[in-house]
């Protein structure tokens, strides 16, 4: 068991006569109580328990105090005194905290020892309290020493006067005390030693044996001082009206250390080895009070005097105090045990249980009346009244309590525990002492919390005396319980301190929390320690103790940021790709502490430190997702909707602004400003862009790259060697823009001022600091709303050619703090070497760079009408482009490169004249029949300008016609390449324009064999107006074909207005155009596909040109397709259609070789071009309908394919190659060039009406079958058989045909030839007869190769055989009706 706390020791009051005081004062000694106190504690004191067992105390503390002080203290109201004490403690701590913190931070020893100066101070202040209390008896005097000196005029009378003095103690102070007489006999006394002895005997005789004669030498001058332990501080007396005028007397602070240890005894004055004179070190004490620093205490006493005094103190304790206490304990114990017997227990509890308001009491066993000591009794027990519950009744403390206290002091632990337990059960306290006496167990924590709970309610503002008592308990626990036990998990003593602190906002509560935190740190519960430090700091801050508040906050911060020590696998960190050190933790904790610290620093004048903290607060950790909640309605009103993040940010930002402004106002140091780095970035380097004036803002990068590649390919094919200078270079003295993206990561509006970019010049792979060549725009002020992202263009101009790296953005945060944000993007992660793969390695940072060149060749171009273009499908839009030469040298050559898909025509002055006005209905045009895309177009500068070049500063206007071929949203990207003249490098300029194409007409064209014997095919064109324009007019329909000639069936009236959602139909008869030649084209395809099938290389030869027959149907003046723009666009439309079709059909043939394999026009193809106009909007255009193939094919590639299949297959080891080869073969087999079909079309002339009088019997009806060979190349033989149909396939409402006569007809048809076959049907009754039940067999003959002798017709080889019958849904019939003849 740890030694009892100092405050739990016998309290002895000393009443000294004035003469003694003057004697001591003349010897430079403090008042007697303080002199005596220096001799406490005493070593090796043996006491006896009630069971007469000896207990040896290695040290026994005894407290001495001035009786007058105690009397005065008792008169003061307890509540007033307690609150005064707390204030006094607070003031002491506040005064000294700054120095303590300084010392502690220098020494850094507190955590190891578990002691801090402020805690020691608090403990000493609390332990030093010696005024009796109503609720406990520890401070009630056990003995009163009446001290006189022999220098008094009449010493005996002085003793009598002291004895006769009534103690002015209130009735609730225990009056059971021992009276002791001390006669101090100094050497310079008028009395001789004998006279003093006589006096002593007389006193003994009159006032009992409790008396002592103390001879002292008290030499003058006083001997040198010897150090004694520092006294405990005591509450100064309350300021009285008189004392307010005079300076307060130095507080009596002469007493023993709070926790005497045996080791300290060596230096105690009770040892015989010391020879000192004593004197109170009054000035030192005052000094200590003033400076807050404890100076050593000393006593100036002669060695002999020390020995005599020590002997007296020891004798006083052993001969008087201890026996007195033992006797009391024994007497009271008897009473106590008698009340513990069963009947009285029952009686008392019954009374208690059944509602008696009288507190339980016991019958006092000794009711001795207050009396002065009798000569005969060894002890003088003044009084023991029966006030059992003194604290409530205003009487002295209950005897049980005194018994418990005495037993505790005497070391009779067993008795003490049992009495305290019984007191506790009666609800009269004891819980506070029991933890000191009992062995550690979880019950102790309950005792402690019970003690605190009974003391004060955990209200926000408990009364001062309750707080003070709680504080006393806590201090006693920390002293009286073994530190190891106190910290152990069973007791968790630090929590006792926390609950003692309660919610009081006083310095002592904060110190309790601080000490709890310190203890937690010793227990390695750092996170809890951090929390308690924070709580302590919060309370101290309210009390205004700033140095200590800051210390606590720093501790909390350090403990929190240290992070948890986790025993996790090291590979966990690897797998998570995190370092154990970069623990972030809760998002607001660090900010909360730092903010408090920053504010404290600001208020204490440390502006720079405050700014450090405030800057750090702007950092946003994003590890934790904080769920934001919408406000909840509770009881009809909205509850607090959690947290508003912007509020916190706003506070932080405002604090920073205020602090920084103050810093600047007080002449802030520039070097300090440079040291502050903003922890957040406003710039997003990845979104930084350079925007050049000649560069189309829009357009995807790959589109422009395509254009450039196209140009380079073209130029290389021309044999040109001049390279195209890289685009994207800025020109000297030309403004270009750096677009930076600024993003506000904070939840509050901020402003950035003086925003500009910083560039560095790259000189031979090294960066140099920027010379004065850059003129960058400075934006005065940007206000960014919370979390706003904005792109900001900054104009930049450079005055000489250079290669610049845009490295930073410079701005002033809140117009205060200059910040440089780097625009570096981290390079890609490297994976090349093993080392790079194992540890993260990145390529060097990437910056945005811009090259600035001399502006000798600059062309600026743009559309005259800029803006979004809305077009109808097929519309031809005339657009003007404006070019100006912004360079210093003329431009002599200008090329336009458009995309393959763009249909553009550059109008030159020559075109206008060439537009023919001939009224034509048909014409023949020639086509190169090539799928090759248009080449870059060289702008004829000669015809646009008068000279052959554009001079510097000169302008050129260029008109282009754009044909919207496809309904889509897209962008027209035109690359213009130019140079001064031959042998100069090319430069480029970009022009782009957005456009939108809306659908206008939906047109389809279908064909079928014509019923008319004069024509081969009937073409049906259907056109529907799908636009929202009611004013759409159809102006002209034109058919184009290499081998077919069309003639419109309908008249021109059908052209004209086509209302919305209406459909117009047009019919054309199609016949062979004899002049058209298909042979060369077919041979070309045959050869090329043969090359592909035999895996031969394809020679880049274009197909032969072809003639196209055009037939116009117009409502007046017909457009000629010969007109250049029209012809160009018709060609391009067809080219795009065929290119797409070929690309889908032949995915394995490389697209680049398509133009050399497939011609533009299949000879059998027929296209229709529909011209439309919207007169009200002055818009016109045309769409093409492609895809019709007329005429029968006969698997023209059959031999080729068979040959390829039968050729000795070169097996490839790759399945993919094999598959690809099969794919090619299959695609060619199914392509239009290998089309195969039955060339003979059988048509029955139906609708015949026959009238016959069946009364005369049946009749034969003639049926005409028309057979036509639609093949243009091959003759075919046919066999028509009649009457072969099964019954079931007849339509139900028609009668079956019954053919008679010749049932098989054979014949031969030359290409395009037609024949009629007459058959007969025998009809026996009227009705409708279905004309089915026939079957035609076709045999297509081979045609001999050129040069071969044509064999006889019947001996020719058969190429294909087909069988056909009537179509399933055929309902052609003849109607036979009966007529009565005659």
């Amino acid at each position: 068991m740890a030694p009892l706390p100092y405050s739990l020791s016998p309290h002895v009051c000393v009443l000294s006569s004035p003469d003694l005081e003057s004697v001591l004062a003349s010897a430079s000694l403090p008042p007697l109580p303080q002199v005596l106190q220096s001799f406490s504690p005493l070593p090796n004191v043996t006491t006896r328990t009630t069971s007469l067992t000896s207990v040896t105390h290695s040290s026994f503390t005894i407290r001495f105090s001035d009786l007058v002080e105690i009397e005065a203290g008792c008169k003061e109201d307890e509540e007033v005194r307690a609150s005064r004490t707390l204030d006094w403690i607070g003031a002491r701590i506040a005064k000294r905290s700054a120095r303590w913190v300084e010392d502690t931070e220098r020494v850094q020893a507190g955590e190891k020892v578990g002691r801090t100066p402020w805690w020691d101070e608090l403990r000493r202040c609390v332990e030093g309290d010696h005024v009796p209390s109503r609720i406990e008896g520890w401070n009630h005097p056990i003995a009163v020493i009446l001290a006189v000196s022999t220098t008094a005029p009449n010493p005996l009378q002085a003793v009598t006067a002291l004895h006769s003095r009534q103690l002015e103690l209130p009735p609730w102070v225990d009056s059971t005390y021992l009276k002791y007489t001390l006669i101090v006999h100094p050497e310079n006394s008028p009395l001789s030693d004998e006279e003093a002895g006589a006096l002593f005997n007389a006193v003994k005789k009159q006032y009992g044996l409790h008396a002592h004669l103390l001879p002292l030498s008290l030499p003058s001058p006083p001997p040198p001082a010897i150090p004694v332990p520092a006294p405990l501080p005591r509450l100064p007396p309350p300021p009285s009206p008189e004392s307010l005028l005079s300076p307060p007397p130095p507080p009596a602070m002469f007493s023993a250390p709070p926790t005497p240890t045996p080791g300290a005894m060596g230096s105690s004055l009770s040892t015989q080895m010391m020879s000192f004179a004593s004197s109170i070190d009054g000035p030192a004490s005052a000094e200590e009070e003033r400076t807050g620093k404890s100076s050593g205490n000393s006593l100036r006493m002669h060695e002999k005097d020390i020995q005599m005094t020590a002997r007296f103190v020891r004798e006083f304790l052993l001969m008087s105090v201890v026996p007195f206490m033992e006797k009391c304990a024994i007497e009271w114990n008897e009473t106590y045990s008698s009340t513990r017997r069963l009947p009285s227990r029952l009686f008392s509890s019954t009374r208690r249980l059944f509602g008696s308001s009288t507190p339980s009491s016991y019958t006092p066993g000794h009711a001795s009346t207050p009396s002065t000591s009798s000569v005969t009794s060894r002890t003088s027990i003044s009084s023991v009244t029966s006030g059992a519950n003194g604290s409530q009744a205003g009487g002295p403390p209950p005897m049980h309590r005194r018994l418990a206290e005495f037993a505790t002091i005497l070391g009779d632990i067993k008795l003490a525990i049992s009495v305290w337990e019984s007191l506790r059960k009666e609800g009269k306290g004891g819980s506070d002492i029991l933890p000191l006496l009992l062995a550690p167990s979880p019950a102790l924590a309950l005792h402690a919390s019970h003690a605190l709970n009974t003391l004060h309610l955990p209200s926000p503002d408990p009364p001062a005396h309750a707080q003070f008592h709680a504080l006393t308990y806590a201090v006693r626990w920390t002293i009286g319980i073994n530190p190891q036990d106190f910290l152990s998990n069973t007791l968790e003593g630090e929590r006792w301190l926390v609950s003692t602190a309660g919610s009081a906002e006083e310095p002592h509560a904060a110190l309790l929390l601080g000490h709890a935190a310190l203890l937690s740190t010793m227990k390695r519960a750092k996170r809890r320690a951090a929390l308690w430090y924070l709580f302590a700091a919060n309370r101290l801050e309210k009390c205004g103790v700033r140095p200590l508040t800051m210390y606590f906050l720093r501790k909390a911060h350090a403990l929190y940021t240290a992070g948890p020590e986790k025993s996790l696998s090291p590979s966990l960190w690897d797998s998570e790709d995190r370092s154990p050190t970069d623990w972030v933790g809760f998002p607001d904790v660090k900010a909360g502490i730092e903010h408090a610290l920053g504010r404290l620093l600001y208020t204490t004048g440390n502006i720079e430190g405050a700014i450090d903290y405030f800057l750090g607060l702007l950092r946003r950790p994003s590890t934790c997702f904080i769920s934001r909640q919408p406000p909840v309605m509770t009881n009809g009103k909205a509850a607090e909707s959690g947290v508003d993040p912007s509020a916190t940010d706003r506070i932080y930002l405002e604090d920073f602004r205020v602090a920084f402004k103050h810093f600047l106002a007080t002449g802030g140091d520039d070097t300090r400003i440079a040291g502050w780095k903003l922890p957040i970035k406003f710039c997003n380097p990845k979104q930084t862009k350079i925007r050049l004036p000649n560069q189309g803002v829009n357009g995807l990068d790959n589109v422009w790259a395509d254009r450039e590649t196209k140009w380079e390919t073209f130029w290389k094919s021309k044999g040109g060697r001049n390279r195209l200078e890289a685009s994207g270079k800025a020109a000297v003295n030309e403004t270009f823009w750096v677009d930076i993206e600024v993003q506000n990561p904070l939840d509050v509006e901020v402003n950035l001022s003086d925003v500009t970019v910083v560039a560095q010049e790259r000189v031979s792979a090294e960066l140099e600091s920027p010379v004065d060549i850059l003129e960058a725009e400075v934006i005065d002020d940007i206000v960014l709303a919370a979390n706003e992202t904005r792109s900001i263009p900054l104009a930049v101009k450079v005055n000489r050619p250079a290669s610049l790296v845009i490295s930073d953005v410079r701005y002033k945060f809140l117009s205060l703090l200059p910040v440089m944000d780097s625009l570096a993007c981290r390079g890609r992660r490297l994976h090349e070497t093993a080392l790079q793969r194992q540890s993260k390695t990145y390529a060097p940072n990437a910056f945005v760079t811009v090259d600035v060149e001399d502006a000798d060749q600059r062309l600026q171009g743009n559309f005259v009408e800029d803006g979004r273009l809305e077009m109808a499908h097929g519309e031809c839009k005339r657009m003007k482009l404006w070019f100006s030469n912004a360079g210093t040298r003329p431009i002599g050559e200008l090329w336009m490169i458009s995309g393959d898909e763009d249909e553009l025509w550059v109008e030159t002055p020559n075109d206008a004249g060439s537009s023919s006005k001939r009224p034509v209905t048909s014409e023949v045009i020639s086509s190169n029949n090539s799928l090759l895309a248009a080449e870059p177009f060289r702008v004829p500068l000669e015809s646009l300008t008068n000279s052959s070049s554009i001079p510097p500063g000169g302008n050129v206007e260029l008109t282009v016609i754009f044909h919207a071929e496809k309904a889509a949203n897209d962008e027209l990207c035109l690359l213009f390449v130019f140079r001064e003249g031959n042998d100069q490098p090319f430069h480029s300029a970009r022009v782009s324009r957005q456009y939108e194409v809306n659908p206008c007409l939906r047109a389809t064209a279908t064909s079928r064999p014509s019923r008319s014997p004069d024509h081969l095919y009937l073409i049906n064109v259907e056109i529907e107006n799908v636009s929202s324009c009611g004013d759409l007019h159809l102006r002209q329909l034109t058919t184009l074909s290499p081998t077919w000639k069309c003639s419109p069936i309908a008249t021109e009236q059908t052209l004209g207005c086509l209302p919305v959602n209406q459909t117009a139909r047009f019919y054309f008869d199609a016949d062979r155009w004899e002049e058209g030649s298909a042979e060369q084209t077919l041979q070309f395809v045959h050869k090329k596909l043969g090359d592909i099938l035999h895996s031969r290389s394809i020679d880049p030869s274009s197909p032969p040109s072809i003639q196209l027959f055009c037939r116009h149907l117009s409502d007046g003046h017909a457009h000629s397709v010969e007109d250049t723009p029209t012809r160009h666009f018709v060609h391009t439309s067809r080219r795009k259609f065929i290119s797409r079709a070929v690309a889908t059909e032949h995915p394995y043939i490389p697209p680049a070789s398509h133009p050399y394999v497939f011609p533009l026009y299949n000879p059998a193809a027929l296209d229709v071009v529909i011209f439309w106009e919207i007169p009200s909007q002055e818009r016109s255009g045309y769409i093409s309908v492609s895809g019709l193939l007329l005429g029968a094919g006969h698997a023209a590639l059959k031999e080729l394919i068979e040959e390829a299949q039968n050729a000795k297959v070169k097996r490839s080891m790759y399945a993919e190659t094999q598959r690809e080869r099969e794919g090619i073969l299959e695609a060619i087999r199914t392509s239009e060039w290998n089309a195969e079909m039955n060339p003979i079309v059988v048509r029955v002339q139906d609708g015949l009406r026959v009238e016959h009088d069946f009364a005369k019997g049946g009749r034969l009806a003639p049926i005409t079958f028309v057979l036509r060979n639609y093949s243009l190349t091959h003759p075919a033989r046919f066999t028509l058989r009649l009457g072969h149909e099964k019954r079931s396939s007849y339509p139900s409402n028609l009668l079956p045909a019954q053919y008679s006569g010749r049932l098989s007809h054979r014949g031969r048809l030359e290409p395009s030839q037609q024949i009629e076959v007459q058959a007969k049907m025998w009809i026996t009754r009227p009705g409708a007869y279905a004309l089915i039940g026939w079957q035609a067999e076709t045999q297509v003959e081979e045609i001999p190769l050129t040069g071969q002798e044509a064999p006889e017709a019947h001996s020719r080889r058969i190429r294909h055989r087909y069988i056909q019958g009537p179509p399933l849904a055929d309902r052609s019939c003849i109607v036979v009706s009966n007529v009565q003849s005659g």
Binding site: N453, P458, A530, L531, D588, K590, C624, A647
Partner: protein, 180 residues
């Protein structure tokens, strides 16, 4: 009455936090002092005796006061988070000697009681609450665990990915509304 939920990774990095204001009335809790008192006397009269000693009124007053304390503006947010952080000390200690997943009322700071739930993957769910509601909190934790496991099924979710899924958030909210 408010609740604060934190989900922490095994490295004690919070990944998700939720503040829930419950509209349910505070449940009357048995006086904790009755259990705090070492057993004595005849138990039949324990209640009466407690009442006589004046202790129970103290407890009730404490709870009324505890319920009145609110989380104020942003300034107090860090205190709440600090309490959750501080409770980790006790939770780790309890985890060492107890293998249960649901650790009820492991710690107490002023008016806040801390309950915790430790998943087999060493994730910790911490709930700060003011009143006693063991069964509700247990069910709530189990639901949150289930939702969390579903979140973990996302192959892009690592141990330290903050849980930003709105589905998770709304379901946790619904669960809190149901049980707390």
């Amino acid at each position: 009455m408010s609740h604060h939920l934190f989900l922490l990774s095994p490295t004690d990095t919070p990944l998700y936090s939720l503040t829930h204001y419950s509209s349910k009335p505070t449940q009357s809790t048995p006086s904790p002092l009755a259990s705090n008192l070492p057993s004595w006397s005849t138990s039949a009269f324990a209640g009466t005796l407690t009442a006589l000693s004046g202790a129970s009124s103290a407890t009730q007053a404490h709870h009324a006061q505890g319920g009145a304390v609110r989380l104020g503006g942003g300034q107090d947010r860090h205190v709440i988070q600090m309490i959750a952080n501080a409770s980790l000390d006790v939770i780790e200690e309890v985890m060492r000697r107890d293998s249960a997943m649901y650790l009820k009322s492991v710690d107490k700071f002023n008016e806040w009681t801390v309950s915790a739930f430790v998943t087999p993957g060493n994730f910790k769910f911490i709930l700060l609450h003011e009143s006693k509601n063991d069964d509700g909190i247990r069910s709530f934790f189990n639901e949150v665990w289930e939702l969390y496991v579903k979140t973990l099924l996302n192959p892009f979710h690592t141990m330290h990915t903050p849980i930003r899924s709105p589905v998770f958030d709304s379901r946790v909210r619904a669960s809190a509304k149901k049980y707390l």
